[in-house]
């Protein structure tokens, strides 16, 4: 009897143990109430800085000039010829500084002489109006303003990085450049048959993290690293 009793006790203990183990195992497989929340998709997209042609269509000049000839809004001359226009648009998606380069290339017989009234004169402005290049002919030649604002003879090959505005451009902003010209009536016959070609290059650079030098003004030249700043055009 005692031995039967012991066996029964052992059997009960074994069952209890098995049950406990079973309970323990089953405890890992029971589902728990839970909940989760996922954030919106965080998307990082680089802004764009780009430029393109604007409206109305630009006028590319191919002009034969005689002394005394000039285009529409030139301050001297006949004002009878059509000015060259260059209409562009800032097509980027973020704020940007806009600049324009003016490249001058003389032909085999030069028609433009730096600092001289004896040759073709240029007048570059936009519709704002901001003046980039002008001339005091017939008493002086074509000039631009340096970053410090000093009127200086337009170099024989032109000038780069003339600032369009101290206010950063916004998407779809149009800039309408007008290039007027004049051949003063008192130029010498040495210019007979001379020629010159002018191209304008419109460019933009991000304004964020790229502060303008403090002495840059609209229409004037504005240089990378100008005024000791970290400003860069590219």
């Amino acid at each position: 009897m005692p031995s039967l009793k012991k066996r029964l006790v052992l059997a009960g203990a074994t069952l209890t143990t098995v049950g406990a183990v079973t309970t323990l195992i089953a405890g890992f497989t029971f589902g728990l109430f839970s909940a989760s929340e996922t954030s919106g998709t965080n998307t990082f997209t680089a802004g764009t800085v780009s430029v393109g042609l604007g409206t109305p269509a630009s006028v590319v000049c191919t002009v034969t000039l005689m002394p005394g000839d000039s285009s529409g809004t030139a301050p001297i001359g006949s004002k009878a010829d059509t000015a060259c226009t260059y209409n562009v648009e800032y097509t980027g998606t973020v704020g940007a500084w806009l600049g324009v380069d003016m490249t001058v290339t003389n032909g085999s017989t030069p028609l433009f002489t730096s600092g001289s009234e004896n040759g073709v004169q240029f007048y570059l402005k936009d519709a704002t109006p901001t003046t980039y290049v002008t001339s005091t002919a017939p008493t002086g030649g074509t000039t631009y303003n340096t970053e410090g604002g000093v009127a200086t003879a337009l170099p024989a090959t032109g000038i780069a990085d003339l600032l369009v505005s101290k206010t950063a451009a916004t998407p779809s902003q149009l800039v309408n450049f007008t290039l007027d010209y004049a051949l003063p009536s008192n130029v010498t016959s040495a210019l007979n048959g001379g020629s010159v070609t002018v191209t304008l290059t419109f460019h933009a650079v991000q304004s964020a993290n790229n502060a303008l030098p403090t002495d840059c003004l609209a229409g004037n030249q504005c240089l990378s690293d100008g005024d000791g700043s970290t400003f860069m055009w590219s």
Partner: protein, 233 residues
Amino acid sequence: VHGKHAARRGRRWPLIGAAPLASVAALALLVTGTTLARYSGSETSGNNTLTAGTVTLTDTAIASCPITGLLPNAATSTCTFSATYTGNASAYLGLDVLIEAPTVTSTAALFNPADSAHDLIVKISSGSPAAVSSYALPGTGNSVTCPGGLPAGAACYQLTDDLVSTSVVTSSTGAITFTVAASLPTGSSNSYQSGTAAVVMTVHAVQSKNNALPGTCTSAGPSCPASGSFTWS
């Protein structure tokens, strides 16, 4: 004690390792700092080409007609030359007439406007496409200093800017022929005997655009001097 030293050594390693890492990072920033590009874009216009027009005379724009061996019989000696305008801009043409006359005697040169009844008779004309029967000639008031090379005492007279045509010429106008006819009147005196002269003609052109003829220049032949806004150069 050994354990504390070991622990200190163990903490020092990260510090020693961090210094080179920081240097590398700083160097990397320094290097990349100069090469970082800003977003940018550009657009270039077409070529705006400005060309000066040309005002050009080819062929013989300057000619000298020597006059020798004339007799007082009114027979004419002629000399011709042509000028062709080739500029690509329209122009007005002018004619300068210089008559050079070495003195024959101490008082007389073959061309002597003060003695028009006896001295050299000169007539300059041009044919189509700029027909002019007679260009104006220098007179007593047009005495000038003679060019170098002439004998001392030579007399020279010049009239400038005779208008060749009131119409503009272009490169398609073609050659214009000028004729100089010289003679001595039958009543000429012996004082002109052996006299010589030369008629030097210079044709010049000036742009017509932005350079309208003065209202006083209504016909070809007479001198048309610069006036008002009109100029020959």
